[in-house]
Subunit: 348 residues, 2 copies
């Protein structure tokens, strides 16, 4: 019997995770679900944003469903030493799971183009998959320091790190439209030169059917909003991926529509990309669509149950039309939306 660990975390995390769990129980009733602490609430309870009981629980998990971590910019958590802050719990979790490839699909649902800040004709039909390297680069490199009036961090990559995430991008492109855009800043950075060289070599060696091109990160930032339909799969390093995937998330019109999957050596990590939204936490009005769609990605990639995943995707698409939440200009609260998903599931 597959075991899922849920980590609701902070802010609206518990609300949206609870909604996703209701949906999971409906489409995969045989799955065991075990809840644990992460982030600020874990620090408050255990003095550690990624505490030992949570680490232990991951040992035999098949997949992890995360809510959100962190507080407002002025939260007391942000005054803690860096390694005790909620975000550090998330980074440690990614590392512990060995999740090196973060997949963020950016899709504009037919009929929901009007939600986009982009003109409808630009938003229509957008279907991009961003593959972000998640365990390397400036995020984890140990060569980092703040000392008096100087500070530095190091962006470092090795060929094996580049290759393993590029493989995920090529594999994904094979299931899609066969195009990969690799994003770097090779006109300035040596680390991008390595990235570009290794991605190219891998394509030439193992993925000759894929059309690969290289673009600079500044240029992609522009083009992804002014001409999004030019992209199929985008692969990039950790920091560029952080920026570009949040940016691309505006295309569908609400962060509340963006799920993600982080894959790697062991159990995958599935989470909505929106933040903890402390301003609306506890009010029962958060849009749980991204968390529910993340549960769908968990079924697809984590438990290899594509039929159940497809059911969720269809039900969410129906619910978005029937009961749009406030971020989508509607009036549905978290429970109303979730009930709409559940009733769409029943009749499917």
């Amino acid at each position: 019997m597959p075991k899922i660990v849920t980590l609701p975390g902070d802010g609206i995390g518990p609300e949206v995770t609870a909604a996703a769990v209701q949906v999971l129980r409906e489409v995969a009733p045989d799955v065991t679900i075990e809840e644990h602490l992460i982030g600020g609430v874990a620090y408050d309870t255990h003095g550690d944003p990624f505490p030992q009981p949570t680490r232990d629980a991951l040992a035999n998990a098949d997949a992890v469903l995360l809510g959100t971590v962190g507080g407002a910019q002025d939260s007391a958590w942000n005054l803690l030493p860096r390694h005790l802050r909620p975000e550090s719990g998330l980074l440690a979790l990614r590392k512990a799971l060995g999740c090196y490839a973060n997949l963020r699909p950016v899709r504009v649902q037919p009929g929901l183009e009007h939600l986009s800040p982009l003109k409808a004709e630009l938003a229509r039909g957008v279907d991009i998959l961003i593959v972000r390297e998640l365990l390397g680069g400036v995020y984890f490199d140990g060569d980092r320091k703040i000392d008096g009036d100087t500070a530095y961090n190091t962006m470092r990559y090795t060929t094996p790190e580049v290759e393993r995430v590029a493989k995920v991008a090529f594999w994904a492109a094979e299931q899609r439209r066969g195009r990969v855009t690799s994003v770097d800043k090779a006109n300035v950075l040596e680390v991008s030169e390595l990235w570009r060289r290794d991605v190219t070599a891998l394509r030439d060696r193992d993925y000759r059917g894929i059309h690969l091109n290289h673009e600079y990160v500044d240029s992609v930032a522009m083009l992804i909003v002014s001409d999004p339909s030019r992209y199929d799969v985008i692969v990039t390093e950790n920091l560029f991926g952080d920026i570009l995937s949040d940016l691309a998330a505006v295309i569908p019109g609400s962060l509340g529509l963006m799920p993600s999957a982080s894959l790697g050596d062991g159990a995958g990590l599935f989470e909505p990309i929106h933040g903890s939204a402390p301003d609306i936490a506890g009010k029962g009005i958060a849009n749980p669509a991204a968390a529910i769609m993340s549960a769908g990605m968990l079924l697809r990639h984590g438990l290899k149950r594509p039929d159940a995943a497809n059911r969720i995707d269809r039900a969410v698409a129906l619910a978005l039309r029937a009961q749009p939440t406030r971020d989508l200009g509607g009036a549905a609260d978290t429970q109303t939306f979730t009930r709409a998903v559940l009733s769409a599931l029943e009749s499917s």
Copy 2:
């Protein structure tokens, strides 16, 4: 008599610079203009993208007007060792001039909202000034290497580097709406922690009238396109500024509308932010508006002639309506547009 050095550079650089020079001669006939080489053409002539005659010419220049540098992604220049490539000429020029603050105004002209990829109601009235640190961070730090299957670059900042660019941002905000957003990734990077600390300390010490807030770069990438009117002045480090300023440039709808000024210790550097556009180079159809507006910034910031600068801005605004270029959905070529600017100047 003030001396301006023009560096037309590569691609469409010579065409748009020639247009800007025509305009400069009209509004500032007393100025001496001297043309020199930079970028790929400089490499082709002297084996150096920033050759000695150009360096020498800068010694007694009051301001520098740059076109664009670089070729297509597959250009032979990109096969050269990094220090001989066109972009390295530009980086060396910035360094030689000590231009540490790159100012990029992002303004949507009334009546031209329809050019934006954003919905008109979001684009209307946008008026942001991005101040990008231009001589520090990962761009110039000497601690960088590619070696076999590993490579790294170092993002480094010191307090004096942070303070001098933050001063420019606070000074600019004082002339504008009094708000500065400082952008970093302080939840992950030590170098951002220093940045945030030093910007805050400077505000508390010398600019108490300014409203300062801090946002994460991934969040700003989202918000600047989904809610651009929340920003007045944005200040950020070199790499984040590269990405965000290109991104913000989509808001007005064409890179062809984006001038820039780089200020620092000596002569300022003024350039359109668009690239060399090799696909249309030599055809006489490039939009020279950004180069002409950069000449306007040169008059304002470089030669302290605000009246002449204002005349240019008004003339460009008229010409954009009378003779839009192709990138703006019109039919005017470079010369037609330039003549429209000149005739608007005559009647002003």
